[in-house]
Amino acid sequence: MSLYNNMRSRQDYAGGLQNVQDPDKAFAGMLRQDYNDYIANFRQYENQLLGMTDDTTLIDRSRENAEKQAEIAAGVQSRNLERYGGGGLSGAQLQEQQRSAQRGNQLSLAGTVNNARVQQREMNQALLQELIGVGQGVNARALEGLGTAAQGAVARRGAYKQAKANYSSQMTNMGASILAAFLI
């Protein structure tokens, strides 16, 4: 009790809120606006993500990176050779070192790109799986919405038919009763 007394608000925030005149109308308007907001703000990103299932960013970037790394490694080697005065290597050894570097770079490029392809595929598959999950939610809610709409339409149609039948039956009954009363 005493603890709550410290927390208890002395101000009536709820009392200061605007009264909702027609909650039904307000609800309909709010839902309409929600849908519009969703389309305006999120649909573009949803479409963008849907278009990423065949993405090749990782492969493209890894190819560029492998080439760049070969250049960097060449720069490192060249600077080290300068630092150590050629490292005591003969011309033939230097040539062999160059050839070895070229082979290594090509192998590295191929290996990196191949690994990137594998990883890219895994990522795209994972994305696809997530999107399928999202899509199933979209499908389920669409079916639910249409189901409710159809249910309402059937109920209204049924009620209309029932009302027509009742009216017709009541009118026939009235006609027959009045006619019978006149003929007694």
Partner: protein, 208 residues
Amino acid sequence: MSKPKSSDYKESEVDKVNAAVAMADKKYFRENYLPKQREFLERSFNQESGLMSMGEGRAQADTMQALTQNPNRRAVGAVDAQADLASAASAQQLQGTAQGLVGARSDQIAGIKSANQMASQTAAGLSQASKIATTDTLNKAKAKQTRNSALIGAATKLGVQAGRNYSQYRAAESVNTQEVDKPEAEQNLIPMTENAGLFKIVTGRGLG
């Protein structure tokens, strides 16, 4: 039995507070949380490249720190040092890029899922609104039908009574025609207005 008053069907205090608080919450959500939700998604798409660059940068730093910190004569003279460095750095770069991209995708998916959840709530709300509207339509139709039934019932009662009055008038007419032929002392005439108009007959004012 008194006539129903509209005030008897007005919203209660709880209904009023419920609607007002819900409306205020929704407004607060729209003004404060919705922009954040959009910002989160926007960022996750716009910063994809940045995240990859960050991953690559760290991978580059780690690789170079590990493989070039001791540039001794043996390393300089080794035939495969340059190729090894390029190969290791490329492989590390790939891991960095992949980590950045996985992070970005993860954020993008989370953002879309969250937005979709909001859309689902809208759809659920629409379903509920549709149910409410159908119930309202059906209730209105039912009320109209009840009024019509009552009117038809009343018309039937009036019509049947009019028919009975008409039949009784005709029967009285027939009886009186026969009674007239009898001697006056024996006559037992039913009091009635002769040649009464149809309105008088059906309303029962032709007899008595």
